[in-house]
Symmetry: D2
Subunit: 301 residues, 4 copies
């Protein structure tokens, strides 16, 4: 087992629905294929982008199997298996492992705020039932729990919790992880607008839905960092930062679906209560996408 199977750009597909509100697996496979083809270093279905919490168990299983089959080992896969209860989290983690996932991602979803003790027990219970690595995911804005850096450090003592995805938007959290845990800690940035700051701080990778729309620019940022070329990284980052801000502000599933449509791609339907962007929002996205695309051509020319 590779304990830290991810680096670089880890791409999050949306989960598209058909006209009748069913998950559109055919379209989902197409969207996954686009992400692999465009050079993403990993594929992460059933994240926030993939509206995990809005899906039934059967839908989650179908998406998991479709991903692994479609990716076919070309890059590693990171399957979201978070659930409010420990029992269902174990169930989905085991399903992902059995289906061939490289690793699973778990955010401690909460309705009732969980104590640190409850969170540790939750991860521990899941970790002891699977053999593949776990990425612990901190995102108070969606999950409702903010895991302190100290708690994240505790989680990393569980043998197969080997990776942290940090999405608070506070760069100092990443500094703390690196400072406390040394150069060997594997932390990933999950906050799109922090992409440059996180790579500068030493993040191993960037978990992002942006490659659905601008894969070349996401990869170019990572490559500039690998080349130790800060000036180029900065320039490439500012070319895409408006888009990164927009997709976060509007919600990733809504914004990515709209962006795909603007690029002439199918994006399927959303599941209620999520609604499509307004016309004004779509126009704004069009203008941002087009500016991003022009600056890309100049930059990569």
């Amino acid at each position: 087992m590779n304990h830290i199977p991810f680096k670089g750009i880890i791409a999050y597909p949306i989960t598209p629905f058909d006209r009748n509100g069913k998950v559109d697996i055919t379209l989902f496979r197409k969207l996954v294929e686009r992400l692999v083809k465009s050079g993403s270093h990993g594929i992460a279905p059933l994240g926030s982008t993939g509206v995990l919490p809005y899906l039934t168990d059967e839908e989650k299983e179908a998406v998991t199997e479709a991903t692994i089959d479609q990716v076919a080992g070309r890059v590693p896969t990171l399957v979201g298996v978070s659930n409010l209860t420990t029992e269902r989290t174990i169930y989905h983690a085991q399903f992902a492992e059995k289906s061939g996932a490289t690793a699973v991602m778990i955010i401690p979803m909460s309705y009732w705020k969980l104590t640190d003790e409850e969170i540790v027990k939750h991860y521990d219970a899941v970790a002891s039932r699977i053999s593949i690595p776990i990425m612990a995911y901190n995102n108070p804005a969606t999950g409702g729990v903010d895991m302190s850096p100290a708690l994240l450090k505790r989680l990393l003592k569980i043998p197969n919790v080997t990776m942290i995805k940090e999405s608070t938007g506070d760069i100092q959290r990443m500094h703390y992880l690196r400072q406390e845990l040394g150069e060997d800690v594997a932390f990933y940035n999950g906050s799109n607008p922090l992409a440059l700051a996180a790579f500068s701080a030493g993040a191993n990778g960037w978990c992002t839905a942006a490659p659905n729309l601008i894969p070349q620019q996401n990869l170019a940022l990572y490559n500039a960092v690998l080349d130790n070329d800060l000036q180029t990284a900065q320039q490439i980052f500012y070319q895409q930062s408006d888009l990164l801000k927009f997709i976060v502000a509007k919600g990733l599933p809504r914004a990515i679906k709209a962006g795909l449509n603007l690029l002439g791609e199918e994006g399927g339907y959303l599941r209620s209560p999520l609604q499509t962007l307004t016309d004004a929002e779509t126009a704004e996205l069009k203008s941002i996408l087009s500016a991003t695309s022009i600056s890309k051509q100049n930059a990569l020319a």
Copy 2:
């Protein structure tokens, strides 16, 4: 149809589990019976206290039917039917109506932050499919969305959205509702530590899990307000305020289960990741319960 069927003390039962993690319907009925017998003016299963989001569809249905059968019309029932997707919210709302619920309570649960537009459409879609009244519930701490007073005012224009439950802990929200909507608006307090302030502000009722532990004192507070006796209301409130703070701080399901045990009652098991109170927390609760009980005897003597 009575548009505003609730006033006074609306009691929230916990959902107890058995040793094997199944919902213990027999014990649940017993807990509901205690609440009715002790004088509660309404019974509200499947709230936050009832760990709604941690239950399967089948479990929710069993709890709904058990409540209505056990209460048997002695007081009105308010069934929680909140769900992340609109489709499942409609399903459970229809189930509750068919089963004989007096009204349903809906919090706009969110993973992705919902826009005001999405929230209005969500309530509208549910309201148009049932005939019983809806209590719109605002609780950013558990639901993840904070509905502004202006949005709540908008929701009240949907015909069968007739009641608001406010749990932000900010008394000014209630002032706004009353100020904007006049004396006819039905708003309910869902923040236990605000019980006195909310009744002073004109709240129609208090949605609370406290009657599982101290029903007489909850009722005495309401009665003092009905008697227009502020001094007595104040005195009775301060006798119970430590307990109200404690059960909120520790999480209602955990604290109520522990309190029931301290009172010599069965409270069942919790569902993971929720864990029982620590020994220190239980000792603190014991001491608070006992102080509350003594002051009650003095007050009511």
Copy 3:
């Protein structure tokens, strides 16, 4: 010495400036006289309303002396003497005492966040140099430091710190004070929109600039509470709550000056950077004042 010399409505005059930016002491005396005549139970110059931090030492001294001379013992006076440094706080507290102030009010103003230890030493140093009572004032929104209830409890152990003014807008802070310190604690509400909730919670008094505009209604609220008549208190509160919200939202010095002008009274000039209300804001205030006044006539008829 009376340790707790205040109860009821403690009125805060603005500090008016003349056309040339000098404090207008003649007008200030007139404004103080209006407050005393209208029935206020105490007069508190050099508060936030009196723009204390914007004044020179000489101006503060002139305002202190004018207040005490004008009030002439008819009601007790509470002089604001807060300063960033301990040395200047002592200076102004001694000046107030020597001039005949009944008590002083002190907020721990901060530029650098103060530790609890620093705050205790600050109050202790001042308290040991004067003999009149001190009201400790907590208002993070203006002072920049939020004193926890536990810290306020500590301050009350300093012999002449005998009163707390709470302006966080969180009613639970007052519950805590009363719960922890018993019925003998003297706490005052400094958050206008919380007037009803604070009196319901047992506040001794209400520190407010509102009597510059609607003294009869402020007094009527207090009298209803004294009469143990919650329903009347609630009714009177809702008649004035729009005004209370407005003057806080716009800043007390700006809103009171505009309100005085609307009532046909002189309000003087503001000191830059503070600017007069915009025309739209003034129109809104006019409409609120007029609605408040009509409901008053009905209520008091």
Copy 4:
């Protein structure tokens, strides 16, 4: 006039007091000399580090003149002239210009929250009365006002407001400035723990008290950025990040004074209510300073 006279490391001296509470100008000059000698690219007296708001007008003037005389043109000077009132801000800005300051720094200090309009008028009034450039400083934690990026953009339209110092600790504010205002905007980082992220984002300089303690490492970070060497910048940053966090957490004047003492330098006395670090805090600082110093020797060897 050079519109943007600063880049690199802009060092903030503390204002030391003598045993009797007077500003110790002789020691202050010595501390300024150390900062210049150690290679700082600018000297900024009367900042938050220099406890500006705790000083009398005479003290501010003495510190201003001492700085300019001591620096003697070797590097540019940036004098803090912020004041609650517009009139006093103008006075001190004019004094600084007359004394030979290269530029002035202004934070819109607030007691009453200022409107955007009031802030613009404040800067405008000062700017029109001096000819040297102004650095607008945003630091809600000390000044009490949070200027939005949009407001900062507005301020930059005032002719001699040419520089922004951002201290919110949110890297996205800097991204916004650069994105909105292009490569020509001069923005400076005032949040020590963000030093790496800010330089990565394109900050022109770093306004910091750290050179009082670790000047070589502050300069080395800047030089690595100039060399476009991200890996070295990252390594050097992590060597000093514990110290940067510590001095911010404890308050710059208190932490720098303690650090100077630990380095065998005089740091003078603090002005009450500010108190020296506790023994435990001093021991922690000693350990951090010593770890920082060892890693420096390794890094620079």
